[in-house]
């Protein structure tokens, strides 16, 4: 479309990951290098051709370190996106913009950490929380009262959402059961061969009421990388291109990291709606055109809320939408077919982008029988967020 120069300008041509584990036994820097080499190999592109890198600000392995270790001679584009998993899809947007404008030709995105064996976000505020800055000032209004972890912060939204929508813990549990069913069939997943029942979910211990253990993602060690090139170039490479039909970021009114508690409706996610509006406008597509979705699932309640904001169902209706079986592999909108971060592993959403690519290639371990032409991939909430629509080449 002439009104959306970014749409279809670039494609994801390579994906590569390390194993996802409890303890990698290797440095985060090495995990980053391994995943980048795997993704470049998947694309069939030599490391010396890489001229762009886009990362999370939270990534501990800077582009300069990976470029040095892998002998990448020069980078003409490098950028960073804040807000952790919220920004998961944003480095891909940066990559697409760099390629569309000619700033770079081969852009690598990666996220690599020892989040399970090292610093766990679920254990308390991360190390950067102790830097006194405007960036961390928001903690003044939540942390001194014991609201310290992402699960606790999202529980405040979840309780309000239950109150307004009538959703129950079992409705959240259905997301977990679905993800674990998909993970059970994914050899790469933490919970390969380990499905759960709704009863298992309901019996799991409370972490931050209403969130139970099985509402929470599985922290992991590991690395995941992506290679983005022009769609034209991607056509000559090893795999069918996963064309970036649309890419967007979003910050909403009066947004505060993990705690936009001053908004009239704390169960609404206007930044997600902003991403949705941009994605549908850029791609010329809508929710009904999505043949699968990878929705960021650090915690189950936000999956329901995102499905509503992306327009798959009305506000408060996600519980009924999910109960219909529509998100199973046999349904119209298979959801988190890799097992999600609940089942495959919490790699800050970048492993979900790789699953979006596999769905478009037709190589997911839970590949739907129906044709997959378009997949929605979302970044995390409730923080500044991002999203992608990936599609087949046509």
């Amino acid at each position: 479309m002439t009104t959306a120069p970014l749409s279809a300008a670039a494609a994801i041509a390579g994906i590569g990951a390390t194993e996802f584990s409890k303890n990698s036994g290797r440095s985060e820097w090495r995990l980053a290098c391994e995943s980048v080499l795997a993704a470049l190999d998947d694309a069939g592109i030599e490391p010396r051709e890489v001229d762009g890198v886009s990362l999370f600000t939270m990534e501990n392995n800077p582009e300069i370190a990976v470029a040095r270790a892998l002998g990448i001679p020069q980078l003409s584009f490098f950028s960073r996106v804040p807000h952790g998993g919220g920004g998961a899809c944003a480095p891909v947007q940066q990559a697409a913009m760099a390629i569309a404008t000619g700033a770079a030709n081969v852009v690598v995105v990666y996220r690599a950490f020892n989040e399970r064996s090292g610093t766990r976000f679920g254990a308390g505020p991360p190390p950067f929380a102790y830097r006194p800055s405007t960036d961390q000032e928001y903690r003044n209004w939540i942390n001194p009262y014991g609201l310290l972890t992402p699960a606790q912060q999202e529980a405040i939204l979840a309780r309000r959402y239950m109150h307004l929508s009538g959703a129950t813990s079992a409705d959240f549990g259905r997301v977990s059961v679905l993800s674990r069913a998909h993970a059970a069939n994914n050899p790469k997943a933490w919970f390969h061969g380990k499905p759960i029942t709704l009863e298992d979910h309901q019996r799991s211990r409370l972490i931050a009421d209403p969130l139970r253990l099985l509402d929470c993602c599985q922290e992991t060690d590991g690395g995941q990388a992506l290679v983005i090139v022009s769609t034209e170039r991607a056509r000559d490479l090893k795999h069918p291109p996963a064309v970036i039909r649309a890419a967007a970021q979003g910050i909403g009114p009066q947004q505060i990291s993990m705690s936009s508690f001053s908004r009239p409706d704390i169960d609404a996610l206007p930044e997600v709606r902003l991403c949705a509006d941009q994605l549908w406008r850029q791609s010329g597509l809508g929710p009904a055109d999505m043949n699968a979705a990878v929705v960021y699932d650090a915690f189950t309640p936000l999956v329901l809320m995102q499905l509503e904001e992306y327009g798959f169902c009305g506000r408060g209706e996600a519980k009924d939408f999910l109960a219909d079986g529509i998100c199973e592999v046999t349904g119209a909108l298979p959801l988190n077919t890799h097992g999600g971060q609940l089942g495959e592993g919490y790699l800050h959403g970048v492993n979900g982008i790789a699953e979006g690519v596999r769905l478009v290639r037709g190589t997911s371990t839970n590949q739907p029988q129906h044709a997959v032409e378009h997949v929605l991939v979302t970044g995390g909430s409730p923080v500044p967020t991002s999203g992608l629509v990936l599609g087949i080449d046509r």
Binding site: N143, P144, Y145, G146, L148, I156, R160, A208, S262, I266
Partner: protein, 144 residues
């Protein structure tokens, strides 16, 4: 030599006190809950910020809050425990009749009595790092 486990330290970060929010913590230390007010358009705002989002004025003062609150949402935290608190720990987001919201820990209430919409009182008490900060407590007659 006995292998004594190290004493666990709280993970609660120290306050980030800036020129934009110091007035609020100073008042709290004196036992007062205050709300920032734009002196140009009278809009109240919380958490504090250097400018009024409604009229963009940098001029502000602070007014005392009455201390009444209504529970807007809550969580009861079980894991992971922090040595600064006792668990399970109830934390509430409360609507103030003045038109802003405050998040604080909830004390003096059995957790099975928590219900969205219930009235609460805000009291300033000592918290983990020694700061005097608001706490949500039951109103008289609702104590348990």
């Amino acid at each position: 030599m006995t292998n004594k486990p190290p004493e666990r330290t709280s993970t609660v970060p120290r306050l980030v006190v800036t020129q934009d929010n110091q007035f609020w913590f100073d008042a709290a230390r004196e036992g007062r809950l205050v709300i920032q007010r734009c002196t140009n358009c009278a809009e109240l705002r919380h958490p504090p910020a250097p400018a009024c989002a409604a009229c963009h004025s940098f001029d502000w003062d602070a007014v005392d809050a009455g201390g009444d609150a209504t529970l807007h949402s809550y969580t009861v935290v079980h894991h992971p425990p922090d040595p600064a608190f006792e668990y399970p720990l109830a934390i509430g987001l409360a609507d103030l009749p003045e038109g802003i919201r405050i998040l604080a820990d909830i004390a003096g209430l059995s957790h099975d009595r928590l219900v969205i919409g219930m009235p609460l009182r805000i009291t300033l008490v000592r918290h983990g790092n020694g700061e005097i900060l608001p706490q949500l407590q039951p109103v008289e007659g609702h104590r348990s």
